[in-house]
């Protein structure tokens, strides 16, 4: 099934070309740590890890935003809460206490990641249930506001670091692997990313995905065939929150640090930038977008402290003058089929 199956159905051949591209991409990602070792640039492995983590977050956002048409400006809330799940569980574990008097701490990835998914989903259920009663401009503002509210909450929680954040001395453990090692952690993130992208691919092509795409295109028509949009939008929003929470948990592990910065509205903006840079509503777009922004930021920050003055115009030009972001660009260059 093609990647942009949602928007360009039943299109003919060059799917072999696409499949080869994707195989190359997969192989490249697996081989990356060894390639960069050979090139003498081991620092690129942590960079690639960051790209993968953001790709997971951006892809999850893309489900709600690109496929579902819900412009959420508050996804930092889910990213941050995923991070804090890891942080709080770790702190509780180290202090040998009980969170809220009930929940024991842990340093196990197999627990913290599902926990982050669960909490991310619950938070999305809460925020989504309220926000999806509105649409358009209001929805954007409301999601932004709720995320900001969460930001203020965590800034005020001195017990968990407040404004300064919490350090997480050791990354979560997984089957006795050395998660501290860059390459090991890279592969863990790669595995998670692969699972997430696979899941999203299945969701998008499923009956649920069809309904979601239909709602994005014309809610009135969907109601007219007997489908009530709200519950499907909420479901997509919740799934999106789950994935973003998962990414946040990985990020907290990667940085061995969590702070309210992960909840700040500019983080939401960054995620949206990744989605649009990569191409809204495509499956692999978020990966390219995350790579583009992370690499761009890394390069620019080494050039000048006023790097945002360069990023700003670039972003502006991309938004105003390109259609379909990087994914669209690749397609136009003949590396795939053309987009909607």
């Amino acid at each position: 099934m093609s990647e942009d199956a949602i928007t360009h159905p039943g299109s003919p051949a060059p799917s072999t070309g696409r499949a080869l591209m994707r195989l190359a991409l997969a192989l490249g990602l697996v081989a990356l740590p060894f390639l960069v070792q050979a090139l003498g640039q081991p620092a690129l492995v942590p960079l690639a890890t960051r790209v993968l983590i953001y790709a997971i977050a951006a892809a999850s956002l893309n489900l709600a935003l690109g496929f579902g048409g819900m412009v959420s400006f508050g996804h930092a809330a889910f990213f941050g809460i995923g991070g804090y799940v890891v942080g709080i569980l770790y702190r509780t574990y180290v202090d040998d206490g009980l969170f809220l008097g009930l929940i024991p701490g842990t340093g196990q990835l197999l627990i913290t990641l599902p926990a982050a998914i669960l909490v991310g989903g619950l938070l999305a259920l809460l925020i989504g249930a309220l926000s999806l009663r509105t649409s358009g401009v209001q929805f954007i503002m409301i999601t932004l506001a709720f995320a900001q509210m969460l930001f203020f909450l965590f800034v005020s929680l001195k017990a968990y670091g407040g404004d300064d954040g919490m350090t997480i001395r050791r990354r979560n453990e997984l089957f006795g692997l050395n998660t501290r090692d860059d390459i090991t952690f890279y592969f863990i993130c790669l595995a998670v990313a692969a699972l997430v992208f696979l899941a999203l691919w299945r969701i998008v092509g499923s009956r649920f995905g069809m309904v979601l795409a239909g709602i994005r295109q014309n809610e009135r028509r969907m109601a007219a065939i007997g489908i009530a949009p709200y519950r499907y939008k909420l479901a997509a929003f919740v799934i999106s929150g789950m994935g973003t929470g998962l990414a946040g948990a990985l990020m907290a592990n990667y940085l061995r640090f969590v702070s309210p910065d992960m909840l700040h509205w500019t983080k939401s903006g960054e995620l949206m930038i990744m989605v649009i840079l990569g191409g809204v509503g495509t499956l692999l777009g978020p990966l390219f977008g995350a790579a583009a922004l992370v690499i761009l930021e890394t390069v620019l920050t080494s050039l000048t402290e006023h790097w945002q003055l360069i990023l700003g115009p670039i972003l502006l030009l991309v938004v105003l003058f390109t259609q379909g972001g990087l994914n669209g660009l690749f397609n136009r260059l003949g590396l795939g089929r053309s987009e909607r």
Partner: protein, 250 residues
């Protein structure tokens, strides 16, 4: 007389000072094609929109098969057996004809919280959708994206989607609007072919089509039904003549 399929009593709707629907009583009998005609601005589309649940009425009662549906939102009314075509096409522009109809088929099969399986390869959906398209004479264009269709084809697709909902009562809002002569004839033929099998409430301006198809006609003027009857009765009705010819269009 058997209980009507659709029964409307005392329907009222006002927008500020404007009375759009003025104490409308209407019955649609099962199996009939019931036309709703009237001058421009009479409130025909507004009436349909209220019946469909997209607009809430201020007063009155709407019953489908004897059961009140006033409190139901549009999706629930569709699940109870209503369907509608829109004057301004409401289609899914990025999808193909087949996708559009398949979604209606999918909706008919129950909830869509199914996250596994490839919907585009689901025989139960695609096959059924193709059948509907074939019945509408559109099968040869099944894979074409809606945005690439002609106006006439889009109108036909509207109709096919509505039929795919397997409705008890079909509300048609000017299905001939914007169609050329040949396409109009096609549409009339299609509607004619469904006579007796699908109950329809048809809003139309094309009088030839109306008189060719309708079992009964109701005339709406300034939000009020001024006459209901067979084609002949309506043609002979004084009030109707005045409304159309005497005072001119609203």
């Amino acid at each position: 007389m058997t209980k009507p399929l659709l029964s409307v009593r005392g329907l009222r709707k006002r927008f500020g000072g404007l009375i759009a629907t003025d104490n409308v009583d209407l019955d649609v009998v099962e199996g009939e094609i019931h036309a709703l005609i009237g001058p421009n601005g009479a409130g025909k589309t507004t009436l349909l929109t209220q019946l469909f649940g997209e607009l809430s009425h201020d007063e009155g009662e709407i019953r489908l098969e004897g059961e009140p549906i006033d409190a139901l939102a549009t999706p629930q009314r569709v699940q109870r057996g209503l369907a509608r075509t829109f004057q301004i096409n409401q289609l899914l522009p990025d999808f193909s004809m087949l996708d559009n109809v398949a979604l209606a088929v999918q909706a008919r099969q129950g909830h869509s919280f199914r996250f596994l399986g490839d919907a585009r390869r689901d025989k139960s959906l695609r096959q059924r959708a193709r059948e509907h398209l074939t019945a509408a004479g559109l099968a040869h264009r099944a894979e074409v994206k809606v945005a690439d269709l002609s106006h006439g084809e889009q109108k036909q697709l509207e109709f096919a989607i509505a039929l795919a909902c397997e409705p008890r009562l079909l509300l048609l809002d000017e299905p001939m609007a914007g169609l050329g002569h040949a396409e109009s004839e096609q549409m009339v033929a299609m509607l004619s072919g469904l006579k007796g099998r699908v109950t329809m409430l048809l809003v139309e301006h094309d009088m030839d089509a109306v008189f060719a198809l309708a079992d009964r006609i109701s005339v709406l003027v300034y939000g009020r039904i001024i006459a209901t009857g067979t084609a002949q009765e309506i043609r002979d009705n004084e009030d109707v003549r005045t409304a159309y010819l005497g005072d001119g269009d609203a």
